[in-house]
C-alpha cells in the first residue's frame, strides 16, 4: 500500500503536519489501514530526502509543516496516471493454503473451504453493515464518499474470494467424479465402476493427481 503517494495526495491540498496527515489519511479510508505517527514521519523524511516534499515552517502551535514540491506533484500525477501493477500478485495465503491442502494427508479440503467461506461471509456481513450505515444518509463530503468506495472495495474483494471458494469446491467435486469414473469405464465391470464412483464422490482427493 502506497503511504508515500497517499501523503503526497493529501499535501497537494496545502501544507500539513504529521499527525494531521495521519488523521486525514484515516478518515479517507475509514481507518481500514491505520497509520501510526512514526510511519508518517518516516515516510515524510524519505519524501523529503527524495525532494518530493519540503519542510515549510511551523503553524501557530509549533507543528512542523510539510508541503509538496513541484517534483512531488509530477510524481503524484504519474501515480494517478499509472495503473496499479497486477503483474506480480502478492502472495495470497488462502491460495497457498488450498494449494497445499490438495492431497495433503488427513486434510479435508472441503472443510478447509467451508471454514474459510464462513469466515469470509462474516467479514462481508460486517462490511455490509458499515456500508448500509454509510448509505443511510447520502454521503456528500469528500471523506464520506472516499470511505464508501473503500468499504465497497472490501466487499467486492471478499465476494470474489467467496465465489472462488464456491468454484474450488465444485471443481474438486467434478474432478473427483471424473477421476472415479474414467479409469473404471475403460477397465472395470459395471459393479466396479459403481463402487469407484461411490468412493470418489465424498472426497476431493481424487482430483489431486496433477
Amino acid at each position: 500500500m502506497s503511504i508515500r503517494h497517499g501523503l503526497l495526495a493529501l499535501l497537494e491540498r496545502g501544507p500539513r503536519y504529521g499527525s494531521q496527515l495521519r488523521t486525514e489519511f484515516e478518515s479517507r479510508t475509514g481507518s481500514t489501514w491505520p497509520l501510526n505517527v512514526g510511519q508518517v514521519y518516516t515516510t515524510l523524511s524519505r519524501l523529503e530526502r527524495d525532494g518530493l516534499v519540503a519542510q515549510d515552517g511551523e503553524d501557530d502551535a509549533g507543528h512542523a509543516l510539510y508541503s509538496i514540491t513541484d517534483e512531488g506533484r509530477v510524481e503524484l500525477r504519474s501515480w494517478f496516471e499509472t495503473p496499479v501493477d497486477r503483474a506480480n500478485p502478492p502472495r495470497d495465503e488462502l491460495a497457498i493454503k488450498l494449494a497445499m491442502a490438495v492431497g495433503a494427508p488427513g486434510v479435508d479440503i472441503r472443510a478447509v473451504i467451508q471454514s474459510q467461506r464462513g469466515h469470509t461471509l462474516k467479514a462481508m456481513q460486517d462490511y455490509t453493515r458499515l456500508k448500509a450505515r454509510a448509505l443511510a444518509d447520502v454521503p456528500t463530503n469528500r471523506d464520506e464518499v472516499a470511505w464508501l468506495l473503500v468499504v465497497e472495495q472490501l466487499i467486492f474483494q471478499a465476494e470474489a474470494e467467496a465465489r472462488w471458494l464456491d468454484h474450488c469446491e465444485s471443481r474438486l467435486v467434478r474432478l473427483a467424479e471424473a477421476a472415479a469414473t474414467e479409469p473404471a469405464a475403460r477397465t472395470g465391470t459395471p459393479a466396479e465402476r459403481r463402487s469407484a464412483k461411490a468412493g470418489g464422490a465424498g472426497g476431493a482427493r481424487a482430483g489431486t493427481r496433477r
Binding site: L121, K122, M124, L130, A132
Partner: protein, 255 residues
C-alpha cells in the same frame, strides 16, 4: 443498529421464534430411487432477524423454503410459525396462516397476469377480508416504498423483469406480515436494484419481521444477520455478524 431485536408486536415473547424448523426432513421417491432433499434440519428465526440460506444447487435450499412456507409437506419433523405447527392446521387454516403471517417471494415472481401491479398486491389483503379501498391504499403505500407508484396500473407483461420482481416483493411485504420467505429475490435484478431490494427486506426485518432468503450471491447474503450453509440436505455451518464491524476494522489497527 439492525442487529437489535425490536419488541415484538405479536404478543408472543420476544424470544419465541417466528419460524422454527424442527428436525425437518424431506424425502422424494422410495427404495433405490430415494432422494433425501433435507435431512433433519433445525433452524429458528426470530423477530428482527434476516437469515440467508446458501449452498450449491441440489443442497436443499429451495426445499427448505417451500416447506417453511407450507407449500410442500415434510416427510418428518415440524414447521412452526408463530407458535403454530403447520401439521396441526387444516388446509383452510394453513391457507389463512399463509395469507396473514407469511409473505413469499417466488423466484419467477408468480404475479397474476390479468391483474395490475396494485391489484396483485391488494389481492391477498382482500382475501383476508380487508375492504377493497383499504387494500388498494395499502398496495399503493407498498408500491411507494418500492418507488413504483408510476406502474401501479400496469399489467405484468407491461413491466420489466426488475419491476415485476419488486411488485412481487411489495406483495409479500404488504399488510404487516411477520415472516417473509424469499427464493432468490434478486435473481433478475441488476446489482443496484438488487441491493435496493435487500435494503428493503433488511428494513422490514429491523421493523419487526423475520426473514429467510435463499440466495447464491454472497453480496446479498451479506445483508443478513446470519448465513446458513446447506450441503446435501444438512446445515454444515452458519455465521452471525454480531461481533460488530468496528471490532473487525479496529482489531487490525490495534497492532
Amino acid at each position: 443498529m439492525s442487529s437489535s431485536v425490536p419488541a415484538s408486536s405479536t404478543g408472543l415473547s420476544v424470544d419465541a421464534p417466528v419460524l422454527e424448523l424442527r428436525a425437518l426432513t424431506r424425502t422424494h421417491g422410495s427404495g433405490v430411487a430415494e432422494v433425501h432433499a433435507l435431512r433433519g434440519v433445525n433452524l429458528s428465526v426470530h423477530t428482527g432477524e434476516l437469515v440467508a440460506v446458501m449452498g450449491p444447487s441440489g443442497s436443499g435450499k429451495s426445499t427448505l423454503l417451500t416447506l417453511a412456507g407450507g407449500l410442500d409437506t415434510a416427510s418428518g419433523g415440524e414447521v412452526v410459525i408463530e407458535g403454530q405447527a403447520l401439521s396441526s392446521l387444516s388446509r383452510k387454516g394453513l391457507a389463512a396462516l399463509r395469507r396473514r403471517s407469511l409473505g413469499y417471494v417466488f423466484q419467477d415472481y408468480n404475479l397474476i397476469p390479468a391483474l395490475t401491479a396494485a391489484e396483485n398486491i391488494a389481492l391477498p389483503r382482500e382475501l383476508d377480508g380487508v375492504s377493497v379501498r383499504k387494500a388498494r391504499k395499502e398496495a399503493m403505500a407498498a408500491l411507494e416504498e418500492m418507488r413504483l407508484t408510476e406502474i401501479a396500473d400496469r399489467f405484468p407483461d407491461e413491466m420489466s423483469g426488475g419491476q415485476q420482481q419488486r411488485v412481487a416483493i411489495a406483495r409479500a411485504l404488504v399488510g404487516d406480515r411477520r415472516l417473509v420467505l424469499a427464493d432468490e429475490p434478486t435473481g433478475a435484478l441488476d446489482s443496484e436494484t438488487g441491493e435496493a431490494v435487500l435494503a428493503l427486506l433488511r428494513n422490514r426485518c429491523d421493523q419487526g419481521a423475520a426473514g429467510v432468503m435463499v440466495t447464491h450471491e454472497p453480496r446479498y447474503a451479506a445483508w443478513a444477520d446470519r448465513v446458513v450453509f446447506l450441503r446435501d440436505g444438512s446445515i454444515v455451518d452458519q455465521t452471525s455478524s454480531y461481533g460488530g464491524a468496528e471490532a473487525l476494522l479496529t482489531a487490525e489497527g490495534a497492532e
